[in-house]
């Protein structure tokens, strides 16, 4: 169970991005955070992923293994998708051969086009997003964090992503994702939160069905 208590975030002397956020994610839960552009969704997820520190508040029981998919994986690297994923697998502690095998499996499942040997910077937005998704799954994460994961993906990849989220939750991991209101109905969620102007409140609508 991951808990955020009284989280606030402010960059420098700027306006507060998040104010007094309380959020709890239990094991095996799929949690949606819904909000518009600039509502603080991405910052909330980066705090949850342990990437950035909150200005105020506490994170409790952050799991050891976290998969994080950023909103825009506009990687400028000339590294090939295959090489990048193998590096990420090794960083997660896999051996080179394990990382290579996992990379091949994931890229086949996600149908990366035109192929794994192309530089990430030359991939389309949707295909770069597939690489971002694949790196988060190199090893099964205890907490999978996805920032607007559907944006840019084609319709066949939508189904694969929904299946991956369902599988991850079924295996006992927690999944937290953000999206805009209209695209939230793609997976079954255990909890929904609404975020607006940096404030988060629990949404009363529970149990969204499959589309």
């Amino acid at each position: 169970m991951v808990t955020l208590v009284g989280i606030g975030k402010q960059y420098g002397r700027g306006y507060p991005v998040l104010t007094d956020v309380d959020l709890t994610v239990h094991a095996g839960e799929t949690v949606a955070v819904v909000g518009g552009n600039g509502s603080g969704k991405s910052t909330l997820l980066r705090i949850l992923a342990g990437i950035t520190l909150p200005t105020r508040g506490k994170l409790k029981d952050l799991p050891h293994s976290i998969g994080y998919v950023p909103e825009r994986f506009s990687a400028t690297t000339r590294m090939s998708a295959y090489a990048y994923l193998c590096h990420m697998g090794r960083i997660r502690g896999l051996s080179t051969s394990q990382a290579a095998r996992r990379t091949e499996d994931l890229l086949e499942r996600l149908r990366l086009e035109p192929g794994p040997d192309f530089a990430i910077r030359d991939l389309s937005k949707g295909n770069a997003q597939k690489v971002a998704l694949a790196q988060s799954l190199m090893e099964r994460p205890e907490l999978l964090i996805l920032d607007e994961p559907w944006s840019g993906l084609d319709s066949s990849a939508h189904g694969t992503l929904s299946a991956i989220i369902a599988e991850t939750a079924a295996a006992g991991s927690s999944v937290v994702f953000t999206d805009h209101r209209e695209s939230i109905a793609r997976v079954e969620t255990s909890q929904r939160y609404e975020i607006d102007g940096g404030r988060v409140r629990k949404s009363l609508q529970r149990r969204q069905g499959h589309r």
């Binding site: 992923a49 590096h87 190199m138």
Partner: protein, 221 residues
């Protein structure tokens, strides 16, 4: 950690960001050390000073080879976020070590010097000191601490000039003055022992800069 260093170096090479600081270093080496016939330790002061400037740029190049989204992913995958800063520093140091070896050997073929083990040892310690201090300063000028290229460049130049020119600021300026005979020591080959101290101070400065850069970065990411 090994995997992170490997990834960081791979990113540096595919980004080609190492080319410009390497060229700067080699150009400074050619201008400052070719056809020199003075004491070898004095020449090494010039190569170490050149390495300092290049090291700042190289550390920035290593840190900025990744865009922010890719860095966030690496931070999440690394589990210990401080490992990412450490890998950046180690990757930069490894590349600078190669440049440092060139800096030690090039004056031997391009000039006329009396070579001694002591002079080579002092040269190596001076290069290590400058590489470490330069890498530390580079971490302070790179993303995520300083995002804007212009501010990063001007800060880097100001920091390099400060550590080279402020006489009392250890370890670089007092060390280089000792090597060029600017201090009270005027022997052809100065005592090697203080240079070990300068190198230790340099590595300590890198550690301190790394800690500051990491803490600031985690607030700004």
């Amino acid at each position: 950690m090994k995997a992170l260093i490997r990834y960081t170096l791979a990113n540096l090479f595919v980004s080609q960001r190492f080319v410009a600081p390497t060229f700067l270093y080699l150009a400074l080496l050619a201008v400052l050390t070719s056809n020199d016939s003075g004491p070898l330790v004095g020449v090494y002061a010039a190569t170490a000073g050149s390495l300092l400037a290049a090291a700042v740029w190289i550390a920035v190049a290593v840190a900025n080879a990744e865009d922010p989204a890719a860095r966030w992913v690496a931070l999440a995958n690394a589990r210990r976020t401080s490992d990412v800063t450490a890998a950046t520093a180690v990757a930069a140091l490894l590349y600078e070590a190669a440049l440092g070896i060139v800096g030690l050997l090039y004056p031997l073929v391009s000039g006329h010097h009396t070579v001694s083990a002591s002079a080579l040892g002092i040269g190596a310690a001076a290069e290590l000191t400058c590489a470490a201090v330069g890498t530390g300063l580079g971490l302070l000028c790179a993303r995520p601490v300083i995002v804007r290229t212009g501010v990063s460049t001007l800060t880097g130049i100001a920091l390099v000039l400060s550590v080279l020119l402020i006489k009392e600021l250890p370890p670089v300026s007092p060390m280089l003055r000792r090597m060029t005979g600017g201090s009270s020591v005027r022997a052809a080959v100065p005592n090697a022992l203080p240079f070990l101290g300068f190198a230790i101070l340099g590595v300590a400065a890198l550690y301190g800069c790394g800690v500051v850069a990491h803490r600031l970065g985690r607030r700004r990411d």
